[in-house]
């Protein structure tokens, strides 16, 4: 077993880290407090080939593997969890679904500009009444021969305020239930009848805009069916595990970013005539946090490595997502504690990490759902 990154991965992480420190870290606080979508950052990421890291070069990407993509998400999340989820939804869900299920025409038309970062992707699965039970989705698509007509809505759609392309899941067989009768469609932003709400006010992740989508007689041509009619849920399932590893990596990065800040702070902060890091109670907190972060990292890297090698990874992805995001919540909460009143203040970055951490336990399958998945793997 080798726990070292290879030479190329080290160089990649080094490059991304420098980029994050210089280009993202200085604006992350402001992007959060003013809810600014980081369009300029995304442009710079695109120039470096980081909007399509794991997409082959022939489709506008950089030709890297899935593991490299996970390293990117982790590094981004260390400085800005919003940027991490924007890139993750765009690449891991938007680009990857077209890569796996798209026709050659769809790849040329949609994937190439997405992977090059000229366009932004979003993924529309969740509905007001279909969250954890995604297969109960109801957005109706009526077959009109060479096109579908869509009516209904989607909710919690990351990137929706800026996305050009929406991977949209619809019920194409009226009266069908569950995964049966679900079709996946590529929907362009400027399609008549598609309305995008203002970003929803959230607790954190403020630079990432999450909106509702309303479909009122939206016409989508049949050539935009991703995969086969009625087989759309396969697309969702195929991407599910990969998406979970990415959110695990996001949680891992959030925990690492907050920890790094707090570890520096406690060495500087003087109380009772010594640095607070000299207190054993503080040292135990630090030791526990570092150990849990390391454990989370190993779980995330193992799942990512299995997926990269084409091995089964469903259980491992859920374990990584569950553990890394719970770790993010615990570690960021403790980091706020270590900074005391300053930690609770918006003058210091750790409260942002704590607010951002919360969502990672919820989206891409709540951690309760992850436990169900893990148990199903164990008990089948």
């Amino acid at each position: 077993m080798n726990f070292q990154l290879n030479e190329e991965q080290v160089m990649f992480v080094d490059m991304v880290r420098k980029f994050c420190q210089k280009e993202i870290a200085p604006i992350a606080g402001k992007s959060d407090s003013e809810h600014l979508f980081p369009s300029e950052t995304l442009k710079k990421l695109a120039e470096l080939g980081l909007m399509g890291v794991s997409i082959p070069e022939e489709y506008g990407g950089s030709g890297g593997d899935y593991f490299t993509y996970i390293l990117l998400i982790e590094e981004l999340a260390k400085v800005c969890a919003s940027t991490a989820v924007i890139v993750s939804v765009h690449t891991g869900l938007g680009c990857m679904s077209i890569l796996h299920f798209g026709t050659e025409e769809q790849k040329q038309k949609y994937l190439a500009p997405l992977a090059a970062g000229e366009k932004l992707g979003a993924y529309a699965l969740t509905e007001p009444n279909a969250g954890s039970d995604a297969a109960s989705l109801q957005l109706s698509a009526v077959d009109k021969g060479d096109h579908f007509v869509l009516n209904g809505s989607k909710i919690w759609i990351t990137n929706a305020s800026q996305a050009d392309v929406f991977i949209t899941f619809v019920r194409s067989e009226a009266g069908s239930k569950g995964a049966q009768g679900v079709t996946c469609l590529i929907v362009e932003r400027d399609t008549p009848g598609l309305t995008i709400s203002k970003p929803v006010e959230k607790m954190g992740l403020n630079a990432s805009h999450t909106c509702e989508l309303f479909f009122d007689h939206v016409v989508v041509p049949k050539e935009n069916v991703l995969g086969e009619v009625g087989q759309g849920f396969k697309v969702a399932m195929q991407l599910l595990d990969g998406g979970r590893i990415a959110i695990g990596a996001q949680g891992l990065g959030i925990a690492e970013g907050a920890f790094e800040y707090a570890a520096g702070y406690i060495k500087e902060r003087q109380q009772f005539g010594k640095s607070i890091a000299a207190n054993q109670g503080i040292q135990w907190m630090v030791a526990d946090m570092a150990t849990e972060i390391d454990a989370a990292k190993l779980l995330v890297y193992r799942a990512a490595s299995l997926k990269t090698e084409g091995q089964p990874h469903g259980k491992e992805a859920s374990m990584a997502k569950r553990y890394a995001t719970d770790t993010a919540m615990r570690v960021t909460t403790d980091c706020v504690q270590l900074l005391g009143g300053y930690g609770y203040s918006k003058e210091y970055p750790v409260e942002r990490y704590m607010r951002d951490a919360k969502i990672t336990q919820i989206y891409e399958g709540t951690n309760q759902i992850q436990r169900l998945v893990i148990a199903r793997h164990l008990l089948r």
Binding site: E7, E8, M11, F19, E47, L48, L50, V53, S62
Partner: protein, 252 residues
């Protein structure tokens, strides 16, 4: 345009330096491309992007240096040459001759390098290479223009700027302000390992120079002590202060 860039691997500016047995302990210290050499790489790439040609990076050192050469390749250099110094006693003069000989038959129109390395700060190698190869040179350049086969370099001098024109071939040493080095792109990183990285043994280069400089000792600066306040009556305090300045600080 054939452009060579000479780079040196140095300790990260943020590294915590530990001295062990008269040497800087390299274990656990992050290494980087000397920042001034990064300006040189960036300038070479910009010139190549404008007028076409080839950028070749050179560095003298052990296998460890490969990492920095690969990074230069990832930034966009076309190929790299490492001069293996194993078993050769070196000082700046020897390294300069080794690099000059390695550049030798390359017919480079332009050689770029940083004006000094941030580790030993001796600022010797660039100028020595220019002298050995009889190249015209402009040092500590903050702005560089190429037109009609001539280079115009601007450099800061006491109280102003000096603008110097030289014919090609020439050697330019880079100063901070010349440019903002790029990040290696993802594709650049992927291509880096496919690019040629040649190793030349210093022992095959017929180096005639012998080291003339010997490092006698390396030590960390003394930890800063708390300031001393003389607060007796004025006359006694002044007298004690003058005595300390003369005998302890030895500044008067």
């Amino acid at each position: 345009m054939k452009i060579a860039v000479l780079i040196k691997q140095t300790f990260d500016t943020e590294a915590k330096i530990v001295v062990k047995e008269g040497k800087v302990d390299p274990s656990g210290v992050n290494v980087i491309i000397n920042p001034y050499d990064e300006f040189a790489i960036e300038e070479a790439l910009r010139i190549k992007e404008k007028v076409g040609g080839e950028v070749v990076v050179f560095s003298a050192g052990s296998d460890k240096v490969t990492e920095s050469l690969r990074k230069a390749l990832a930034m966009g250099a076309d190929r790299a040459v490492r001069v293996e110094l194993d078993g050769v006693a070196v000082d700046e003069g020897v390294v300069a001759e080794a690099l000059a000989k390695a550049l030798g038959e390359g017919n480079f129109d332009l050689v770029l390098t940083g004006w000094l390395a941030i580790d030993d700060r001796s600022a010797q190698v660039g100028v020595r290479v220019a002298e050995i190869l009889n190249l015209s040179q402009i040092n500590m350049v903050t702005q560089l223009e190429l037109a009609d086969g001539k280079l115009t370099g601007s450099r800061e001098i006491e109280g102003g700027m000096e603008v110097v024109e030289v014919p090609l071939p020439a050697l330019i040493t880079a100063q901070r302000g010349l440019n903002e080095p790029r990040y290696p792109s993802m594709k650049g990183i992927m291509q880096a390992k496919k690019k040629e990285l040649k190793v030349v043994n210093a022992s095959d280069l017929n180096i005639s120079a012998q080291p003339k400089v010997e490092v006698k000792d390396v030590f960390l600066p003394k930890a800063k002590e708390a300031g001393k306040i003389y607060k007796d009556d004025m006359a006694a305090a002044v007298s004690a202060l003058v005595k300390a300045l003369r005998e302890e600080a030895k500044v008067i």
